[in-house]
């Protein structure tokens, strides 16, 4: 019996097909304007990869910001629950899950069964999500996927003074004009982001048994900055961080 989990995110839709506790296939497409259509597309891609037809699917459980937009889903679960279930499935010792997505980030405290004990979400005043890095990449005129590697080349840490993303953009431009190395600016951007993420994590408590998931966990610059901010060398990052919540959704007993 195949269980499908669909994470309907703001930017991308991720699908995972699971059978008997094993991952059969994965797919990812851009959300676009029509989330339902895009989700269907992603589902079909995953089925193709697994060599299965639609009839093989026993349940479809959705999560993510568009989880209620999928009419053919059998149920949906909240993002914290999906993240915790997926994280604990992959890394059974994990107790803090830090999920950094394109538009929202959250910190989840869970127990060994993946039950959510407490959670925090980025609030208005601390925009700590991927969108921040994206905006700064534009200001630096650097492709988004290069921001991370660029920041690793930094030779010094300069503080990002603006706490607001809008001011941060003008600050980046000022730094460029004052001939600051782009690599150093890129590091400052990541430090700003990880500072806000860590502030949020502290609300649920920073447990060393943690894992970083969500699209931004792919960013080596962010991961390195996060390590420096929390003072932990060995920070676990999920191997395919953007699929963890979809895995969790597939495992959840949907409603």
């Amino acid at each position: 019996m195949i269980k499908a989990g669909i994470d309907v995110g703001a930017k991308t839709i991720k699908v995972v097909l699971m059978e008997d506790g094993k991952i059969r296939a994965k797919a990812k497409v851009l959300s676009g304007f029509d989330q339902e259509e895009s989700a269907k597309e992603a589902l079909e891609q995953a089925l193709k990869e697994a060599g299965l037809s639609r009839e093989a699917i026993g349940s479809i459980v959705t999560t993510g910001n568009g989880r209620k937009a999928i009419s053919y889903a059998s149920g949906d679960v909240t993002e914290p629950r999906a993240a915790a279930l997926g994280a604990v499935f992959l890394y059974p010792s994990v107790r803090t899950v830090i999920d950094i997505g394109a538009e929202e980030s959250r910190a989840i405290k869970c127990d060994s069964s993946g039950k959510v004990l407490d959670f925090a979400v980025n609030e208005k005043c601390a925009a700590g999500s991927g969108a921040f890095t994206e905006a700064m990449a534009r200001a630096l005129e650097v492709p988004l996927e290069e921001m991370g590697p660029l920041s690793l080349k930094a030779t010094q840490s300069i503080p990002m003074n603006a706490q607001c993303a809008v001011f941060a953009e003008s600050e980046v431009i000022s730094l460029i004009h004052s001939k600051t190395q782009k690599a150093d600016i890129a590091r400052a951007v990541h430090d700003g982001l990880s500072s806000r993420v860590v502030a949020m994590v502290r609300r649920v408590g920073l447990d060393p048994e943690l894992v970083l998931i969500g699209g931004v966990a792919h960013n080596p610059g962010f991961v390195e900055s996060f390590k420096r901010t929390v003072g932990i060398d060995d920070v676990r990052t999920a191997e395919e961080p953007e699929f963890v919540s979809a895995i969790g959704a597939a495992l959840a007993v949907g409603k």
């Binding site: 910001n65 993002e79 629950r81 959510v116 407490d118 208005k124 409603k255």
Partner: protein, 444 residues
Amino acid sequence: MATPTKYPTEALKCWPKAKELRQQYYKDYASAHDRGGIRWSGGAWAFDAVPMGLGDDVHVMTGEPYAASIAFDRKFAQECQDATDARGWARDLCSYMRIYWGSMYLNRFFFGGEFPKPDFYYQTQICCSHAKWDQEASLYEKVPFYCIDVCVGPYETLTEERLNYVVKQLHDSIEGMEKTTGRKYDDEKLIAAVHNECRSTSLWAEICTLNKAIPAPLDEKTMFSLYVLNTLQRSSKQIGDFYEELRDEVKDRVARGIAAVPYERCRIITDTQPPWGFLKIYRYMEQFGVVSVGSLYTFGLEGIFGEQEDGSWGPRKTPQQLGIKIKTRDEALRITADWNLSRPQWQHFYDPAIKTRMMLRIVNEWKLNGVILHLNRGCEGLTVGSSENRLGLIKAGVPVMTYEGNMADEKEFDERRTTSRIESFMETLGLEQIPGAVAAQAAS
């Protein structure tokens, strides 16, 4: 899973009366001058008994409930805030204040006609924003401003000197108002007003205490429309009479096991003012069988509590109940000062630990399963220390959820995200939506 219990429910009989009282209140205020009367504006926690000594035709409009009413009309609420923003005021200021000022600047009264100019402002100085609110309003309207400073520390450390500081200011304000209005002050009217105030607030506390019953006879969303009367004018006899009626009705509901929320299986409290334009989140919670039985805000803003004989929390005994006869102006002022200083919703201004203790008391005595804290960006006064309250509750093992919002500025409230968060909190409490509850709401 087992089918949840379904309790019988009934609409409140005195509900229409509450609405009527409220409507009349604003009519009386707007037309006060037409009848040769006096009208004043100020805070819901101003010492409203004191101006009552100026006559039988003294009408008040308190700022917070007025602004909260406007908050239900999201379009007008935005217009008011835009008018205030346009004058250079910061957007993070108290959203009630911004709406009230906006209504004043636009010269539009929410209940029709022009903005009625008060004869004076009467306010209590405890919240930094409130004091600025009426300072600006009085400068704009060019009328006197009486500000009674109650920054004397928490009630549990009240001393003679601290009480005297407040009482002396009250005495001075009477002299000031006499000059402003040209009226001779009547101490008998003051004494009656003080008795009424104690009665109204003690009765409201009694009503809140009746909510200890399982199932709760009242839910917080309903309570908002009832407690508001005390925020309008607790020193009015009419309002006290209404609460007596309400108290009797609620007692009857408890006796017959009538519930506010039919599938009640989980009890919580919230905190601070709710996002007024989005009270539907309470209805959403009911789909999970969750009832909010109140909050320190709903209980303790206009309810005065005290220790009962059995050590539990309940209504504070009024001077009349204690057989105290108020004979002089000074006695009346001392009683109203002491009574108001014991207000539960003033204690956190000095020390969050006091509020945490009260919240834990409510958790125990009202038999709660969790707490939802509204991190209210529209009110710095009531959110003071709420992060420490959260830590204190968590330390005591109480499940807590927080959500950011704004009581009156809808730009700062995200309905989808908040609903999603509530759903996650329900998950941590092991609750799912009850099909019967969802269907019943959809039908109504």
